[in-house]
């Protein structure tokens, strides 16, 4: 089989992974190739997704039977496998032409988890031996030895394991060959290693070990879990495993299966709302429990989660833009990270007018109902119904999937109050995350 054929098959079968970020790595040096801290998009595919990395599988010859997966052994489809040398050379060739930031390497599980992961590690070892200093994201293969995980983390920028199904029950039903333990084990192990190696007082900085951290992906809409349980799981993953990102992937029915919903279109709007809620947790100081509670287990499809929260919590408003602390400003619909920082900065130099607030980038169409400024309160006092209608008017239509990287990664240079992420990373691997 020629290289073109392989690339088509192994690119096609890797594309369902939502992650393509190349951000957050200080890199490791090399004779060519460099990581960009904010990440970089190189092109956008016809579905509007940013393409940052050469995203391929090592092989799609998978011996497992995950019901939702195109590569499952159950499916009848063309199969292929790269050799480490082929894939290394292809990555370098693409990188030198500035098509990509580096490599995103995942794989089906052929022969054994160890054999699969060893091939992947060998590919990256070859790349680094060539002097490649660019970005590499590798999937940990559930069931592979820890020695292989260590080797991989020492070579790669980011590691990830896709949990895919947000509950133990769904995993049992739809991914019969993989246990929740096998999935979480590598994640917990790598998290623990990253944590242990982070000692700012160490005289010798240890070699970079997955410097861009770990991420995972959850499929949305294949199984009955509520948005609330998905958000709570994400929050737990951020806290316990210090994950850099949790990606959501709207379920795309690629294979028919009696246990999977027979939908035609992936639930893109739901996915988008989850990303917005995730964003609120990571950069706006919201907890999962604030965004959704028992009475509201699903995100409002019509309103973005911040507006929905504000409507349910009138007691926090109006916020006085002239005096409110950053945390309170950030909770105002229409004020984002950038406009909040601008407001803080601008009000140091004199009394703020409403016009100034607008000039700082605030979206007044939404913010006016929640703020006061020098005693002026443009929209305060509107009835709840008017308010909802007004906010709906300003809500955007179905947003782009591509917002994943461009909108949802923090703008470069912005100093965000990170969530209380890394206080307690498990040393011994426990399973604090209940799936």
């Amino acid at each position: 089989m020629d290289l073109m054929e392989k690339l088509k098959i192994l690119g096609d079968s890797a594309k369902y992974d939502a992650s393509c970020a190349s951000s957050g790595s200080a890199g490791r040096g090399g004779s060519f190739g460099k990581t960009a801290v904010p990440g970089l998009c190189h092109t956008w595919s016809a579905d509007g997704r940013c393409v940052s990395l050469l995203k391929v599988l090592m092989t799609n010859k998978c011996m497992y039977h995950c019901a939702y997966c195109v590569n499952s052994a159950l499916r009848d489809c063309p199969r292929a496998e790269f050799t480490p040398r082929e894939l290394c050379d292809l990555t370098v060739a693409f990188y030198k032409r500035n098509y990509v930031e580096g490599l995103f390497l995942s794989s089906g599980i052929a022969v054994s988890p160890n054999r699969t992961m060893a091939n992947m590690v060998e590919t990256v070892r070859l790349l680094r031996a060539e002097g490649f200093g660019g970005y590499v994201h590798m999937k940990s293969i559930p069931g592979a030895d820890r020695a292989l995980l260590d080797e991989a983390a020492l070579l790669c920028d980011r590691m990830s394991v896709n949990i895919e199904l947000p509950s133990q029950k769904s995993l049992l039903a739809l991914a019969p060959d993989k246990s929740a333990k096998a999935i979480l084990d590598p994640m917990g192990y790598v998290a623990g290693q990253i944590f242990e190696r982070r000692d700012p007082r160490a005289a010798h900085q240890p070699p970079p070990y997955a410097p861009a951290g770990q991420s995972t992906q959850l499929i949305v809409g294949a199984t009955p879990e509520s948005d609330r349980s998905i958000l709570r799981l994400s929050e737990a993953l951020y806290r316990k495993y210090a994950l850099k990102r949790v990606y959501f992937s709207a379920f795309m029915p690629v294979v028919a299966h009696p246990l999977l919903p027979g939908i035609k279109q992936p639930p893109l709007l739901r996915e988008h709302r989850l990303y917005q809620a995730d964003w609120l947790m990571r950069f706006y100081g919201f907890s999962a429990e604030e965004i959704l509670d028992d009475a509201h287990p699903q995100l409002d499809e019509q309103l973005d989660p911040k507006c929905a929260w504000a409507l349910r919590n009138p007691q926090f408003f109006p916020v006085d833009v002239a005096t409110a602390p950053l945390g309170a400003l950030l909770r105002v619909p229409g004020i984002g990270q950038i406009s909040a920082r601008r407001i803080l900065s601008a009000r140091r130099y004199g009394g703020l007018t409403l016009e100034d607030v607008k000039r700082c980038g605030t979206v007044m169409k939404r913010a006016q109902y929640f703020i006061t400024c020098r005693g002026r309160a443009p929209g305060i006092g509107a009835s709840a119904n008017t308010l909802r209608a007004a906010l709906l008017g300003g809500a955007s239509a179905l947003p782009s999937f591509a917002s994943q990287v461009s909108l949802f990664d923090p703008p470069p240079g912005a100093a965000f109050p990170q969530l209380q992420l890394v206080s307690e990373v498990p040393h011994a691997v426990q399973y604090p995350v209940s799936l």
Binding site: W44, S45, G131
Partner: protein, 258 residues
């Protein structure tokens, strides 16, 4: 004579700071600064060409740096590289404010002059970021060669991005709009003539990339509007892949399947 002055200088930061030196030492009313002869001027405007002078420029930069800080000087230079209408006047106003408020200048986010200048700076840095991704090197005789046509005069900001990325091979970037080249051959320099290695040749890797690109859109997520919004059409012609073709192919496959 009752006229105001429009300074004409070269499009580099050095040109800009030389002009500021002149403006500060003259009593005339300054209308603005431009880097190309304006198509139309009114009766009361006098165009005064200024030749760049490294010493004068340095003097101004040192002073501004002392009073306003390096960040503001950088902002002025970036605003000038934007080549946007009114950028010269904007810089003069910003500098004047800066001499009054010193290092507080960039914190004055609500001030219209500061906001306007910051907005121009963002457009420049955003285009550098965007083109760092969208630029395509094509295999040449003995190195790599890229063509860009940026809105703003960013070659001097874009080329350094590729120095650590490309390693020791030879490469060049051609800004076709401005007729300038950035060339890397052991070191980076700028010139207005094409380097001799810049002859394109047939490259089988391009075909692999095109095929890969056509493969990776997910069924059910087709969204060419979004694709266009994030990657404006004016950048397409220097790509290797074909966004329009990929969208058309997607639709063909889709109709064939349903």
């Amino acid at each position: 004579m009752l006229s105001s002055i429009l300074y004409l200088c070269d499009p580099t930061p050095e040109g800009l700071f030389t002009v500021m030196h002149h403006a500060w030492h003259s009593d005339d009313a300054v209308m603005g600064i431009v880097s190309s002869q304006p198509a139309q001027i009114d009766l009361f405007t006098r165009v005064v060409p200024i030749t760049s002078d490294a010493r004068a420029a340095q003097e101004v930069m040192t002073l501004l740096q002392k009073k306003l800080g390096m960040g503001s000087v950088r902002n002025m230079a970036l605003c000038w590289l934007s080549e946007l209408p009114g950028c010269g006047r904007n810089i003069l106003d910003y500098a004047e404010l800066g001499l009054r408020y010193g290092r507080r200048l960039d914190g004055m986010e609500a001030n219209p002059v500061v906001r306007a200048l910051h907005a121009k700076v963002s457009r420049v840095t955003f285009e550098v970021h965007r083109l760092s991704g969208l630029l395509r090197f094509r295999s040449a005789q003995n190195g790599y060669c890229a063509t860009v046509e940026p809105d703003h005069n960013i070659l001097s900001l874009l080329a350094p991005v590729f120095v650590p990325r490309m390693g020791e091979c030879r490469w060049c970037i051609h800004d076709t709009r401005r007729g300038i080249w950035a060339v890397y051959d052991k070191e980076l320099f700028y010139t207005d003539t094409a380097p001799e290695f810049a002859l394109a040749r047939v490259d089988p890797i391009e075909k692999l990339w095109k095929e890969y690109y056509d493969t990776i859109a997910i069924e059910g997520r087709f969204n060419p509007d979004c694709q266009k919004r994030l990657m404006p059409r004016r950048y397409w012609k220097n790509l290797v892949e074909d966004p329009q073709g990929a969208a058309a192919k997607y639709l063909r496959d889709y109709h064939a399947a349903t």
